[in-house]
């Protein structure tokens, strides 16, 4: 879809939802960071949007991008909300298995030569072939 001009309505809403902040409190969050809701803190005192995020994640794990898509929020706004919810203990990331190289958490630049371990690339290939 080509970008199309839009009046600023959505902007105003994003601004309100994030208390005017555009940057999340942590920069390790990615579109494919896997999220689950923690059981402990009750969702009391959360803004309606944050409550929706925790409610959605309570039923199972989803990536941050999926959370944005289900809730109809821009990805940038979702990151701000999720980072806050991680700070307050409402949302946790699903821990990758040991040895899994997570390029985001190492702050790799986009232009850096990506190295994925051959094992995982083989898993991708096998998984795709199994779908035929």
């Amino acid at each position: 879809m080509t970008p199309r001009p839009r009046p600023g309505g959505r902007l105003v809403r994003s601004y309100v939802v994030t208390d005017g902040r555009a940057r999340p409190t942590r920069n390790t969050l990615d579109l494919i960071t896997l999220l689950t809701a923690a059981d402990d803190p009750p969702p009391t005192g959360l803004t309606p949007e944050k409550r929706r995020v925790t409610e959605l994640c309570r039923h199972g794990a989803l990536s941050l991008g999926e959370v944005a898509g289900h809730l109809g929020l821009p990805v940038s706004v979702t990151k701000v909300l999720v980072a806050d919810l991680m700070d307050s203990g409402h949302i946790a990331t699903r821990t990758p298995s040991p040895g899994f190289h997570n390029p985001f958490e190492q702050g790799e630049r986009p232009s850096a030569v990506r190295r994925f371990d051959a094992g995982i690339l083989q898993e991708v290939l096998d998984g795709l072939r199994a779908r035929l």
Binding site: G20, L56, P74, R114, F116, A118, I120, L121
Partner: protein, 200 residues
């Protein structure tokens, strides 16, 4: 205000621990949304990101409220590859090389599949240039649109000025097997490239 999707299938299996991503890029109406929808096991999701006209992701929301903004749509789908691994597909025009959204999508991506239309091959140059700038490896899938002249793949390769090792396949984005094969071509290329880097 609660929110629970209608079906349990929207959630990841409890055993999933790792997620990877591949971008599906190409010019206007080349089949990106179709491709992601054909392969996704979930109903494809779509989000929109607000950008200023200049292409910056809206950062200082207060200061930019009066400026003209555009939105960029992002389609995404999911494939569970094995009990612990999922692959996300992100469909996007791929021409926003200066935006944070684009940097975000490409960072940590395995690679990209460039969809191309034989009727408008030169429209793919900008996307391929962007990927090359970022050092993101890619494969090219030519969609055979109804009524489009059928070209020999060798001709297409030459017209697109592809490197000899860049995979080039035909693909019907409406067909699951054909679309899966296009991703397989990309994955096999990434694996062979990795083996070469290993020996370099």
């Amino acid at each position: 205000m609660g929110f629970a999707p209608a079906s349990d299938d929207v959630y990841l299996r409890p055993t999933v621990r790792r997620a990877l991503k591949v971008l599906v890029v190409g010019h206007f109406a080349v089949g990106k949304t179709t491709f992601v929808g054909t392969l996704s096991e979930i109903r494809p999701l779509r989000t929109e990101e607000v950008l200023t006209q200049a292409g910056a992701l809206v950062d200082d929301l207060a200061g930019t409220r009066d400026k003209t903004t555009t939105t960029v749509a992002l389609d995404f789908g999911r494939l569970t590859l094995n009990p612990s691994l999922v692959l996300y597909l992100f469909g996007t025009p791929g021409q926003q090389r200066f935006t944070r959204l684009w940097a975000d999508m490409t960072r940590g991506a395995l690679g990209a599949l460039v969809l191309a239309d034989t009727r408008r091959l030169s429209d793919s140059f900008e996307v391929m240039g962007t990927l090359e700038d970022l050092g993101l490896p890619y494969a090219v899938a030519v969609n055979d649109f109804d009524g489009a002249p059928v070209h020999d793949l060798a001709e297409v390769r030459e017209a697109l000025d592809l490197l000899p090792e860049t995979p080039l396949v035909r693909c019907d984005a409406r067909d699951p097997d054909s679309s899966t094969r296009a991703l397989i071509a990309l994955a096999a290329y990434l694996l062979s490239r990795d083996a070469e880097l290993e020996h370099a």
